[in-house]
Symmetry: C2
Subunit: 212 residues, 2 copies
């Protein structure tokens, strides 16, 4: 069985969302200083790197990350390659209507965004490819339960009113962001996306893998 | 398919190892204060709650948590119930020699420790049941690749020289600590234990599940 790790490595080199807390990892105990073990502490925003947005990220009445059912986070998944789109474009309803999504409940969009991860680009890019609000409504109507994308948000940068997030989170669609899909061919896989079990949190860093 | 979540919920209520960093989660943006979203930041020791120890936790030349192969973290696993042991006792070689472990590479010990999690006990207990050094050597010789236990360390509290950790980590055996096995009957499962992909870290908080 082939396992693809589609998770970004967490380090201080990783670009974070403008205004978000930066990541820090420091050793509170260090073998090199004569301590008996290495012991590190970590500080980060819960939407850092590969992560899941919980409904309560944008919805006052939404559940926290620890309440997302495991049987949505694990199961069959399709990786769709959207190579025709370039920087700043959105995946919209007309484009999605051309796809045959029968029986699919988990969908990951592989776009040109992934090349920034492959290049270990430390800059935050505002012109990433994202899911349009009408695309989100269409996918909800199609019965999609989990959507993933290969940049730090599913929604275009600074989108007024954040309709893509609201549409998905109001309908309890799981949003998996910050994937690196550069090594993954389009096709069908088993997805395993496990967020930290942070009580009541609006999101959590997540380890995500695909199995073929 | 049945999925058991064997992960401790991460919150400020969870007991941490004496001397370790405490967990804090705070909102840097809050819907209730008129912000457009809830956004939290998290600070914690990497050995908090359910977590994996990387070889470099105790071995200067050991690899970091991001280098542990996924095919050890995912796969068939046996849950062994060690109900005869009481507080402060260790799982030692004579006890392990009685078991039939042929073909097993991943092993989780369910002990009386799990009741503290079931009771949501906020106290750190020093007299948890642990794996003895001779038990660790025996399991390495048997070809075990991953060992899990239901308290915050595999090794008894303040054990001089930490021989259990050294034996396991020198041999690249994955140590999965802080499991809550109270709801899981003994038997065979598929384990999925995914740590955060923290570059070079000595450990990482982990979401762990069993599938039957």
């Amino acid at each position: 069985m082939n396992i693809y790790d589609i998770t970004l490595p967490l380090s201080e080199d990783l670009p974070t969302w403008p205004g978000d807390s930066s990541l820090s990892m420091t050793r509170s105990s260090d073998l090199a200083k004569g301590d008996i073990a290495n012991v590190s502490k970590l500080a980060l925003g819960v939407h850092t790197g590969t992560h899941i947005d919980a409904p309560c990220h944008f919805e006052a009445e939404g559940v926290g990350i620890d309440q997302i059912p495991l049987d949505i986070l694990i199961g069959p998944c399709r990786v769709l390659e959207m190579t025709a789109l370039s920087e700043g474009q959105e995946i919209d309803r007309p484009r999605l209507e051309q796809l045959e999504l029968g029986g699919i409940t988990r969908l990951l969009f592989k776009t040109r965004n992934s090349r920034w991860w492959m290049q270990k680009d430390q800059t935050f890019h505002e012109d990433f490819i994202a899911l349009a609000a009408d695309g989100a409504s269409y996918l909800v109507a199609q019965g999609i339960k989990l959507i993933g994308i290969d940049y730090l948000s599913i929604e275009k940068f600074d989108n007024p009113g954040h309709p893509t997030h609201h549409t998905l989170l109001k309908n309890n669609v799981v949003i998996l962001e910050g994937l690196n899909l550069s090594d993954v061919p389009a096709g069908d896989y088993e997805l395993i996306a496990l967020p930290l079990k942070l009580k009541g949190a609006d999101g959590a860093p997540t380890r995500a893998v695909l199995r073929k």
